[in-house]
Subunit: 199 residues, 2 copies
Amino acid sequence: MNIRMLMGLSCAVSVCAMGLWLAKSPQALAQEKTGAKTWVEFTADGKVKQPVGYRKWVFLGSPVTPNDMNGGEAPFPEFHNTYMDPDSFAHVEKTGGYRDGTVLVKELVAVGSKEESSGKGYFQGEFSGLEISVKDSKRFPNEPGNWAYFSFGHKYPLKPETAKNGAASCNSCHEKNATKFVFSDLYPVLNDVLQKAKK
Amino acid sequence: MNIRMLMGLSCAVSVCAMGLWLAKSPQALAQEKTGAKTWVEFTADGKVKQPVGYRKWVFLGSPVTPNDMNGGEAPFPEFHNTYMDPDSFAHVEKTGGYRDGTVLVKELVAVGSKEESSGKGYFQGEFSGLEISVKDSKRFPNEPGNWAYFSFGHKYPLKPETAKNGAASCNSCHEKNATKFVFSDLYPVLNDVLQKAKK
């Protein structure tokens, strides 16, 4: 084995080591015993913990259902800042579909004001709530589309972990009104990659 | 020089090479001749090209100024999905300030509908416009706060590159009404890290 071969081998070894190191970085995926690779963590009794770092995931869109347009109390007050984990977004870009392990985050934000120097409208104020949905055919074999829905609350302080909602409370609406259980038509960033993936 | 030393040297060399390779990746910073490191590219005559990949930058917030609340035509119609480049966001998290080279993107999105299964409100439809602001004390020494403002248009097709707006059109409002030239109060994600950086 000459010096060139040794250096090649060593280089390959250190690139592999670097790969392993990157895979163990804080943004690495958690491999659950019973479910798909995902960016959220589950407790032993099937609850999900609050997602970490989701404000740096891929933003999809932000509808607003103001309380003052919904009889004083919107079902989801008020802005819905919606994100997808980066790995699942990359999967949508590539395939046009939602992989097992996909996490969608809906962060609720209260309306802070209705007039600013840019005009009249609705402007985001304080964070007020957090909900997620997770698709996993192994973990949620009996949920329609294998999507489960979790709420950490609609006011602070939020729950640190939470059990999934009953199918009737979320899934029935998503099944009836959304496309493949996701309201992609309301999220232009997601809709754009879905349209491109079709071509 | 024994084998262990050789492998150590080779490892160091390949780690350096990996570092250089990462630094040359598509998301690498462009070092402009006359300005700070930034995530946008300027032409030789000082125009800026459309930012690339900004929908994966850090989302800050999304006000909506609907046309129907602004006499039929809002100054910035209608949703303003606002992003900051990741390096500058990390700098805000660390220091609470805006570094030279900071890029803010405001992507305009038309209201698509006003009622969905989640209630009445404003829901995002089609992308309609794109504007950015760039802070750079070397490139824009005479602009208030060293911020320059660029518009690629309020309807598609957008301009591929554009010259900066006159100070009166954007900067005067930002100088008068915003905090350090940025409407951070309207962007809860940015506001949150600014508050944390103060502590």
